[in-house]
């Protein structure tokens, strides 16, 4: 399938976003080929930042949303039409700063949507300020003498919020990433994939992650075990990537809508309204 658009790609040469974008394309293409996904049913949305350009680069239905709000935007789509497969691409500043409330609540209500965070630990597009996941001491334009805050642990937060699919990937491990994306796309419920995405211009972490990440699946981690997932989420010496946790739970739209598809209205509402009024 051709997922390309005519938009000129304006990411920096070597940016981790390329690996992410290509892995996502691979995941979609493979699932479409396997008959597990229909591309026309997909809608993607993004926040504002370097990551956001993803929607311009993918020939899929899309809504280029606001800084921090893509997951809310796709949640609304899912409410309107539960037959859609929705994915939000967000940045770390975007998802964990401006939009953290929506991430927590999407997890809490098990919204059937995928949230993919381009976690480069920096605000790329606004030229390099610290973000919630930046290390303490990170020198950005708003913290020229080093950030004084401890970094946030997004996986721990999503686990604590009731996330039913929690994963971390690294663009330096493309195959593994494609696998995670496929699982996340197929997960019924809220699927969160935090992707370690080096920003070569403002926070080049390639070698750090190349040296320090390891694959959970290689070490027999059981994604059904919540406590094990929690322990792995807190691990800092080595950095685990892979599927930390997965569980099946009823989704928000299943419970809310039952058989209703709001975007596909059939009978006119006037009869019901006349009935309602007649009682008053």
């Amino acid at each position: 399938m051709n997922l390309e658009t005519y938009a000129e790609n304006t990411w920096c040469k070597g940016c981790g976003n390329f690996g992410l974008l290509n892995s996502f394309k691979d995941a979609v293409n493979e699932l479409v080929e396997e008959g597990a996904l229909k591309a026309e049913n997909m809608v993607i949305s993004s926040g504002i930042g370097c990551h956001g350009k993803t929607v311009d680069y993918l020939n899929l239905n899309s809504f280029y949303s606001l800084h921090g709000r893509a997951i809310s935007c796709v949640s609304g789509m899912k409410i309107a039409n539960p037959n859609l497969t929705v994915v939000a691409f967000q940045g770390d500043g975007d998802a964990f700063g401006e939009g953290i409330a929506h991430v927590i609540f999407s997890a809490k209500r098990n919204m059937d949507a995928m949230l993919l965070v381009h976690d480069n630990m920096v605000y790329g597009l606004t030229t390099g300020q610290f973000t919630p996941t930046s290390d303490k001491g990170f020198k950005g334009k708003s913290t020229p003498r080093g950030s004084i805050e401890e970094p946030m642990n997004p996986l721990a937060l999503v686990l604590a919020s009731g996330g039913t699919f929690v994963a971390r990937g690294f663009v330096g491990k493309r195959k593994h990433l494609v696998g995670l994306f496929k699982k996340a796309l197929l997960h019924k419920g809220f699927s969160f994939v935090n992707v370690l995405q080096p920003c070569v211009t403002f926070n080049n972490t390639y070698s750090h992650f190349r040296e320090n990440t390891y694959i959970l699946e290689d070490e027999g981690h059981d994604p059904a075990d919540f406590q094990a997932a929690w322990d792995k989420a807190l691990e800092t010496e080595r950095i685990p990537i892979g599927l930390f946790y997965q569980v099946e739970k009823p989704t928000f739209t299943d419970l809310l809508l039952e058989d209703l598809v709001p975007a596909e209205r059939r009978k006119p509402p006037s009869t019901a309204i006349s009935e309602i009024i007649s009682e008053r």
Partner: protein
């Protein structure tokens, strides 16, 4: 003497069933064939404090409540202090004899009676209803029927209390000889209910809101009716989530509305502008209360007009309209939902607590509402562009899933396919495309009721929103003044207003300290010869307003 206009005030602590008795009195009056207007006054608290309900009714339409009453029922001492001066000559004061003794008036040992029959404090309200019913000479069996329909729980106890009241008030029974009619003049609806039903009639599929007085009752009402209406109703974590979800929902093809009051809607501004840029149809119900900030949350005001007209950074067409009473609220809510889908713009239904939470006799016809479908694309799919340039500025829509093309919406300036652009020519092209819709909306408005004129007179009292209700009631007692209501506030229907005013003297009445509506009129080139402003959180009292109109027109 047969009495036409009758006003009843019931006052008491929050938790004593004050609002419920107001409602039941309204229902009683309505069943007697009378038009009703009920205003509920309550502070921002749950128990204690002081609540009161005012029910004005008549065999001809009553547009707003009066603050001088024929009957005042005081369930506690505070009510007596607050309301006794509002009793009209010849009126009746009924009070709780267990907490206060008064010379004029009828003392009923409410607490004792309730205790005697092992009732609950809420039943003080029942006693009030029964007292009003007795004073109006309503047959006991009639009252019993009303009770049956409205007090499903504790019916027997309530009926027993009513009997005690009728017994005790025998001498005053029928003191007020009410004009009645054979048939009910309509149904009783609160403004927010009428708005909700109007939107539903125009095909509302999804309602998303975070509670905020005085908009919350739209959420409650629709949540309650969602199964019946086949609607999804969602209450998310914040107002920001509300509007961003709503935009996603509308993008996916569901007719979607959100609602809030000033502070909550303030949080939606960023995404309101996104609706403008992405051309996503969105209906917003903005129920106003006195500000700034948290202000006086359970009262009424019109201080959010400038705010409503100018929300959202950047420039884009949008629609702002404001209905007066429940009938118009129903119609205009339906119309607004149709318009935002026709023109793919955000629209605001601006209203106030005075409409939203007051009960009015309403006659609406759901069958009369048509659902306008948006312009849908039917060209070759491979050529589809969500933001195709057209003469009207309206680009045909598609909703995913569609096989053969993609639908790309954006918050960035974009080309016709929805891909980001920063090129000067394309920026201009898209801004102009969007602005052509402004013109198209103006044209459409020529076929709509944008300005309403009521009555005749050489002078015009110009209003908007629910202040129109106060005005309509006030001018019943003023000579030579008609009421002109501006319904559409943006785009501004200057042609229609010009025609309506046709050179007459203009007096502006509004609930605002700075005179925002007057300034709007002036900025559109209309002369204003006098203004009447109030900003104490209360709607105008018709006789007081009448006096001020007389003063202003002398």
């Amino acid at each position: 003497m047969v009495q036409d206009l009758l006003t009843v005030i019931v006052g008491g602590e929050a938790g004593h069933g004050v609002k419920k008795s107001g409602n039941v009195i309204s229902i009683l009056m309505n069943e007697l064939g009378r038009y009703v207007f009920e205003m509920d006054d309550y502070p921002s608290l749950i128990r204690g404090g002081h609540n009161f309900s005012v029910v004005s009714s008549s065999t001809s339409p009553v547009y707003s409540h009066y603050m001088s009453a024929d009957i005042i029922v005081c369930l506690d001492k505070r009510s007596v202090d607050m309301h006794k001066d509002r009793l009209k000559d010849g009126g009746s004061l009924v009070y709780n004899a267990d907490t206060v003794t008064l010379d004029p008036g009828t003392g009923l040992p409410m607490k004792t009676w309730i205790k005697d029959i092992k009732g609950i404090p809420l039943m003080a309200g029942t006693i009030g209803v029964a007292a009003v019913s007795a004073l109006c000479g309503v047959e006991f069996s009639f009252l019993e029927r009303i009770f049956k329909a409205n007090y499903p729980r504790g019916l027997e106890a309530n009926v027993e209390l009513a009997r005690m009241v009728y017994e005790r008030m025998k001498d005053d029974e029928g003191k007020f000889e009410l004009a009645t009619a054979e048939t009910r003049p309509g149904h009783l609806l609160a403004g927010n209910e009428a708005i909700a039903l109007g939107a539903a009639a125009a095909g509302l599929d999804v309602y998303i809101a975070y509670p905020m007085t005085p908009a919350s009752s739209v959420l409650h009402y629709l949540a309650d009716l969602s199964k019946k209406l086949g609607m999804a109703v969602v209450h998310p974590e914040t107002e920001i989530a509300v509007i961003n979800m709503a935009l996603g929902s509308a993008y996916a093809g569901a007719r979607t509305a959100v609602g809030s009051s000033g502070g909550g809607f303030a949080l939606m501004h960023e995404a309101f502008s996104l609706a403008g840029m992405s051309e996503t149809p969105l209906m917003v119900i903005l129920a106003s209360r006195p500000g700034p900030s948290t202000g006086v949350p359970t009262y009424t005001c019109q201080g959010d007009l400038d705010f409503a007209l100018n929300v959202g950074h950047g420039e884009f067409p949008r629609i702002v309209l404001s209905p007066s009473g429940t009938n118009q609220a129903f119609e205009k809510a339906a119309e607004l939902l149709n318009l935002v889908w026709k023109f793919q713009v955000p629209g605001i239904l601006l209203t106030e607590k005075h409409l939203g939470e007051s009960w009015m006799t309403t006659s609406i016809d759901p069958e009369s509402v048509e659902i306008t479908e948006p312009s849908l694309y039917d060209g070759p799919l491979e050529q589809y562009g969500r933001y195709e340039k057209t003469d009207s500025g309206i680009s045909p829509m598609l909703f995913p899933p569609v096989k053969g093309t993609v639908v790309k919406a954006s918050s960035y300036e974009h080309d016709q396919k929805g891909i980001t652009t920063e090129e000067a020519e394309k920026v201009v092209e898209m801004q102009e495309k969007r602005y052509r819709k402004e013109k198209a909306i103006r044209e459409e408005m020529r076929n709509l009721l944008t300005v309403a004129t009521y009555g005749e007179g050489s002078k015009s009292l110009v209003t908007y929103g629910s202040t129109t209700l106060s005005a309509l009631e006030a001018v019943k007692n003023v000579d030579d003044v008609r009421v002109v209501q501006v319904i559409f506030l943006r785009p501004f229907p200057d042609w229609a207003l010009q025609e309506a005013l046709s050179g007459s003297d203009v007096i502006v009445a509004e609930l605002s300290i700075s005179g925002q509506f007057e300034n709007l009129l002036r900025s559109k080139g209309f002369d204003v010869s006098a203004h009447i402003r109030q900003y104490d959180g209360r709607a105008f009292d018709p006789p007081e307003l009448a006096a001020r109109i007389r003063e202003a027109t002398q």
